[in-house]
Each structure stands twice: as C-alpha cells, then as structure tokens.
C-alpha cells in the first residue's frame, strides 16, 4: 500500500463501506465513491444481481447519483461535464472495461482503485482505456464533425487498500454468489 496518502485511504474506506453494503445485499462486493473537492458527491455499489442487469456496477451507480444531483441542481451539460473532470472516483476494484470506457467517455478527472481486476480490468489489466481514452459509439458526428469528441484518457492509480477489497471479495465468493445461475451447492450462512 506504499504511496497511498491519507486522502486516498479515507475515501477508499468509504468505498469499502459501500462494497460492504453490496455484500450485505448479496451482491458482488464492489463499492465506489465520487469525490469533488474533498466532498463525496456520489456513492454506489454493485446492483447487478438485484436488477438482473450485469452492467449495474458500482461505478455506474455512483455516476448516476452524481448525474441526478447535477440535474436536480439544474446544471447544464457543460457544467456537468466540467464537474466530472474535477472529480476523483474511488472504487474498491479496478474498473472493468465497460466502466473504464464509461469513465473515459465522461471525462472523469482521476480514478483510484483498490485491487486489480485481472478478468475484466479496463485500466491496465486487460485493456488500458485510462491511457487510450474512449469515445461514445457512433464515430464522428455527421452534423458537426468539427466538434468531434475527444478521446479522454484519465489519471489512474491502483493498489489503495487492495487487501481489504480482496478480502471482501473472498468472503463473498466463499459464502457463494447467491445469484450465480448454475446451482451447485447450498449457500452456507454468512
């Protein structure tokens, strides 16, 4: 955990708390907080089992909280976009390719994650969207090609409280993912 400062640890603990909530809801325990100027403006954890939507990862949940808040405040899209650039996102597990793509599309300022995600990781493990950047589907906008969207790479740092994140995941998988589709064995009480 060398190189993690107090700021990172503070917010990663909050992300872990979020992950714990997912754990309690029998979801894969990954949690996320989005921080703006030292203030948590959005938090979320995995909800893919509950929604049966495997794309409802912690990051997207937290992003939606932020977007909701921005909308409620009447922020314009420019303001919202700018705000995301100023945000730090803390997530207990490396964002998967989907989430990394989403974060690049949003133009998030910085991402700090806990453990690596060897299977799905989009920030170095499988792909490197944090350095490559990403764009929304559709390619150049035919109506306004000059405003073609930019690839937006983002700063990314891993390994903050990684052991805690892994421990939580291990607990979860030892208990068993209740919604894993193929029945094999009964789940033992947590």
């Amino acid at each position: 955990m060398a190189g993690s400062n107090a700021h990172e640890i503070q917010f990663m603990r909050m992300a872990l708390e979020e992950a714990r909530k997912a754990f309690d809801r029998q979801e894969v325990p990954v949690g996320c907080v989005i921080v703006h100027n030292g203030e948590v403006i959005g938090a979320g954890s995995n909800r893919s089992n509950e929604t049966r939507n495997a794309t409802r990862h912690a990051e997207l949940e937290a992003i939606d909280v932020v977007l909701e808040k921005l909308e409620k405040d009447g922020s314009s899209e420019e303001e919202a976009s700018k705000k995301f650039q100023e945000c730090e996102l803390f997530v207990t597990c490396e964002p998967c390719i989907m989430c990394a793509g989403a974060l690049a599309i949003l133009g998030i300022g910085q991402v700090i994650f806990g453990c690596q995600n060897d299977r799905f990781g989009g920030c170095g493990s499988v792909l490197s969207l944090h350095t490559d950047g990403a764009k929304a589907c559709g390619g150049p906008n035919p109506s306004a090609p000059q405003e073609d969207e930019k690839m937006k790479p983002f700063k990314c740092k891993g390994g903050v409280l990684a052991d805690d994140a892994v421990a939580l995941l291990r607990d979860f998988y030892e208990r068993g993912n209740p919604n894993a589709p193929r029945p094999h064995r009964a789940v033992t009480a947590a």
Partner: protein
C-alpha cells in the same frame, strides 16, 4: 494496445518436411510435444496433397522458421530469399533448429524446406478459403479475433437479420427525432427470434452541438407549450404519461409518491405508452414538440428506470453533499416487500412498450421489412403479450397489444413501495444521460423485462429477499472468480433464428418455466433463472464503443450485428476487439453489416 492487437496479415515461414504416412502419427506426437505451434492453432500440422508422381503426399510442419515467431518478420524472408516457396527445393537442414527438434529431424531423416502459412486465424469464410490454398487451416468463427461479415447466412437468415436491423434503425430514427445521436439497438432472443427489448440513444447533446442547447427556461417554456398542445389531443395514448411528466417538470418541488399515485389513478390512461413514431413522421415536429417528446417518452421511461434502480450511497456520509435524500428503504427486504408487495409484479410497460413498438412496426406498411416480417412481428406481439400475461397479474393481452389502454398497472406503484422518496427524484431524471447509449438502454430494458416476467422467488407473495439457505450457488464460479465482478452463466446452446420451430419450442419452454412465484421450487432450489442475455442476439446501428461492447460481454450475448463502424470509438473491430478479447470470460461473435449512412435513411 489497439495497434498492437491489429491483425498481421503477412504469412509466416515454417519448416516443412515431406513424410511417409506410416510415420505421420508418431511424428505429430513428437513434434507437438517438442515443438508446439504456439499462436498457430488455426494451422493444421499436416497437409495432404497429390505428389507430382501422382501418389499421395504428406507434409508436416516441423517448426516455425526462427525469427518469424518473434518481432522481426524480415529475418524469415531473408532466409527464404530464394525459391523456397511451397514445393520448393529441399534445403539443407537448418542449423537454427533447437536440439529437440534437431534430434527428431535427424532420427527421421527429414528433409526440410520452407513454406508460408497464414499467420493469423481467418476472420471470414472467404479468407479461410484463401488460407487453405496456402496451407490447410481451421476456421473457428467464435474464436475469431475480429469482426466477421455475415457471409455464412442463408437468405432466410439474412432476411431476418435485415428485419431486426431495420427495427434498430427505427429506434435510431426515434433517437434522432428527439435530438439524440442516431443510434438504436434491438435485443432478440435468438431462441425464438423474438424482440426482447429495444432501446435508442439518449445521450442527447451531451457530446455534440452543445452551443445550440437552449437554457432550461426556454426548455420549460417549450414544454409548457407542448403540454397545451397535448391537452388538445386527449385521445393520444401518451397523454397520461405526458401529463405526469409535465408535473414532474413544472413543479420544482417534487410531488410525494402518494400524490403521484393519486393523480395517476385519476388519469384514465396512466399506463406507459410510447411515442407513436408514425406520428413523428406524419407531423412536422417543431423543436419544442420534439423536446416535449423527450419528456413524454424518455422521461417516463427514465422514471421507471429510476424506480427499479436505487442508489444507496446518497446522504450516507455526513460530508456527502448529495441531493439531500433520506436514506432509502432499499436494502431492507422487509421494508421493500412492505405493504403492497404484490404490486411489484405488475408489468411496468416494458413488455407493453416492446409490444407496442413491434405492433407499430408491423402496422407500418412502408417499412422495408421483407416478406414475413409483418407476420413475425404480429406473432411477436402475441408472444409478448402471452409472456406478460402468464405471470398472472396481467391477463389483458388486448390491452397490451393496444398499447396498454386498458390500464395495465404501472410500475411506479410497485416501485414506490421499495423506494418512495426515490421516485420523486427519479422524476427529475429527464436530461440526456451521457451513458445512455442505445445498447445500454436496451440491456437495461431487457433486464427489467426479465425481472417482471420472472420475478424473484417469493414465499406466499411475501418477502422479496430469499433466505440464504434457499439460494443456491455456483461453486466453480465462486472459486475462480475472486477477481471478477460478475458470475458467469452456463451457456445454453439453442437453435437460433428459426422462426419455423420457434412457436412450439418457445411455448413449451414458457410452460416449463411458468411463474416461479406460483410454486415453491423443488428440493429447496431456485429455478435456475438466468438473468443474463444468454443466447441473445443484438442488433445495433452503430458499432458499440468500449463501454457498450463490454456491457454486452457482461450480459453474455451470443452475437452482435452492427450496421456502421464507429471509427476510433468502435470496440468490435475498429479500435478494439472486445468481443474476442483474450482474457475475458466470454466472447461473442460480431458482424459488421457494412451499411452506409445513406442506407439507413435516418433523416
């Protein structure tokens, strides 16, 4: 990374020897142990050919020419500068063989010569045919590492593909008419060829043309105008929906859930209804009314999404400045099941919407659906209605098909019990959402549809949350998945796109599935209800970006068809090959239909 993954099309030099058929099997064994053809799994070790003498001839690949395997492809061609092509003159035994291979070569007195073989697996059937002229290769489209063109389909299948793509294009038209990116997606159950969900881009002007976006006051004014206009057409199906949205828009203080429910039940047609896209085409929509439609249609849908979606982070930290929401009741199953748990089962118009959309497309004579399309669509409507109906809380098929006019209950009610104070916030979710790409929207709606059709197991309509010992688990997954987020689903092999069989297969399947909440699962096990889009095909107008492509991996779809490549945004062949990315736990096949903007006739 993208450039590194680019497929190298140049052939590769290998050492080959002609052998006797009697020694073939022992040599294959020896060589695959001592000199396995790494990264050449598509190349067959042995080639049969006719010898010039007229007899049969067997040639075996001994090993890759040194230097070819590594980063320097020029070295190999240097070695093979002269006439060492196929059937070229045997050359001296190279001194570059490693010891093990050298021993084998000496033992069998092999005479080596150089031959070129394809370096990478074929991406299409044509390419494979070409490859075979060089050296026999295998073709595994599923393991292919880039997009394929749909050359392997027969005319009937192509017709279906075109039809579904047309449905996606239809979605794109709706998106475009509402000021979003012109992109749409349709998810099809490959098993029965039925549309499961569709979605269109809802990113609005988030990424484009920002300067033209009017300020919120003007927007609101436009919406007011829209409401006035709307009131003059009370017969339109979307009225109830619309009105409700208007209230959400115009009142800065969100209504309480109770108020909303009251107004909802007061409204005769409060059910979800979608924008009739025929109307879009008929009427010259002003900008105002287009914006209005965003509210009327997208708005409500978003509202529904928000109902299903809850967040749990808000307001939980003292320093969290977010939205001032009270902590939600979500996560507390007791509270969630609450007073009107039964309502959760109400179909929230997802299926209705799908049905309506299909009905719409089938009712549309101008659509270039070829031949059977109308028929298929009609059957889909019935099918959908039946699917919805069998779950018990809905036996109003006609209502669904007609757009739910008979008031199929709206899910806001059901949702509100889980999270009443979130509803009001959800109502505010009207702006374009930067991540609501067509694929993401369609996936979300497929998931919600699934939730409604196969609701979570309930004991006597009671608590929504199963006790732990009733749940079952996938052991292997758990063991291997420490670092992953999603459980994988056993892949079910089913015939696809076979409309002829679909009727009876599908109905039998539905009967077996039945309503999981109507009877307790045998042996205390839950019915294995996959929550992922296993065996689903996805038709999307634009090549998915990295986010969408990976979302489709998470959702375990089996095939993706897209019409137009997305340049450096595309992740199914253009920039990345996410669908065939090494290391991921699922792959799907991607097909590029190679249409142009003009073909789509979006405008």
């Amino acid at each position: 990374m993208g450039s590194k993954d680019a497929v190298d099309r140049t052939p590769l030099w290998v050492w080959v020897a002609d052998i006797e058929s009697s020694s073939a099997s022992s040599l294959i064994k020896l060589l695959s142990a001592k000199a396995p053809l790494r990264n050449l799994h598509h190349v067959k070790r042995i080639k049969r050919s006719l010898s010039p003498a007229g007899g049969r001839k067997l040639s075996i690949i001994v090993c890759v020419v040194d230097g070819e395997d590594g980063d320097d492809p020029t070295e190999g061609s240097e070695d093979g500068d002269d006439a060492s092509l196929v059937e070229g003159p045997p050359r001296e035994r190279p001194n570059i063989l490693n010891d093990d291979v050298g021993v084998i070569v000496r033992q069998h007195s092999l005479k080596l010569y150089k031959v070129q073989v394809p370096r990478s697996p074929a991406l299409s059937r044509e390419e494979w045919v070409d490859q075979n002229k060089l050296w026999p290769c295998s073709y595994h489209p599923v393991a292919g590492n880039a997009r394929s063109t749909p050359t392997e389909f027969n005319e009937k299948e192509l017709q279906l593909i075109r039809g579904f793509m047309q449905a996606a294009v239809q979605q794109a038209r709706i998106a475009l008419a509402q000021g979003h990116q012109g992109n749409g997606a349709v998810i099809v159950d490959g098993f029965c060829g039925k549309v499961v969900a569709s979605g269109y881009d809802q990113t609005g002007r988030w990424f484009q043309d920002r300067t033209t976006r009017s300020d919120s006051n003007a927007d609101r004014e436009a919406r007011e105008t829209g409401r006035g206009r709307e009131a003059a057409h009370p017969t339109k199906r979307r009225d109830g929906d619309h009105e409700e949205r208007e209230e959400g828009w115009s009142s800065p203080v969100p209504q309480s859930a109770e108020q909303k429910l009251a107004s909802e039940s007061a409204s005769e047609s409060s059910c979800v209804a979608t924008l009739d896209s025929q109307t879009i085409e008929r009427e010259p929509w002003s900008l105002a009314s287009e914006r209005d439609e965003v509210v009327a249609q997208g708005g409500h849908r978003l509202g529904l999404e928000e109902c299903v979606r809850t967040t749990n982070g808000c307001g939980l930290y003292p320093q969290a400045a977010c939205s001032g929401l009270e902590p939600t009741a979500f996560g507390d199953p007791q509270a969630k099941a609450g007073d009107n748990g039964g309502e959760v089962l109400c179909p929230c118009g997802i299926g209705v919407e799908v049905a309506v959309q299909i009905a719409r497309s089938s009712a549309r004579p101008a659509q270039p659906y070829a031949g059977k399309e109308t028929e298929i669509a009609e059957r889909d409507v019935k099918e959908d209605a039946r699917c919805m109906a069998y779950e018990g809380s809905l036996s109003r098929e006609e209502g669904i098909v007609q757009g739910g006019e008979k008031g199929s209950c709206i899910s806001l009610k059901g949702c509100s019990n889980s999270n009443s104070n979130r509803d009001s916030v959800a109502e505010l979710m009207f702006l374009p959402h930067p991540l609501k790409h067509a694929v993401m929207v369609a996936i979300d709606r497929a998931a919600r549809r699934d939730l409604l059709m196969f609701p979570p197991w309930k004991e006597g309509r009671g608590v929504d949350c199963p006790t732990e010992d009733r749940w079952v688990d996938c052991e292997e997954e758990g063991r291997e998945a420490l670092s992953i987020r999603e459980p994988t689903c056993e892949r079910v092999k089913r015939p696809r796109l076979e409309p002829d069989q679909s009727d009876h297969i599908d109905s039998s399947r539905r009967r077996e599935d039945d309503d999981p909440s109507s009877h307790p699962p045998e042996g205390g096990l839950l019915p294995p209800r996959p929550y992922l889009c296993t065996s689903f095909d996805v038709f999307v107008v634009r090549e998915p970006c990295a986010m969408c492509a990976m979302a489709l991996i998470h959702q375990r779809v089996s095939r993706v068809f897209y019409a137009i490549a997305s340049g450096d945004a595309g992740a199914l062949g253009s920039r990345y090959q996410v669908h065939a990315q090494k290391g991921l736990n699922h792959r799907y096949r991607a097909f590029h239909l190679g249409l142009t903007e003009a073909d789509l006739q979006l405008k």
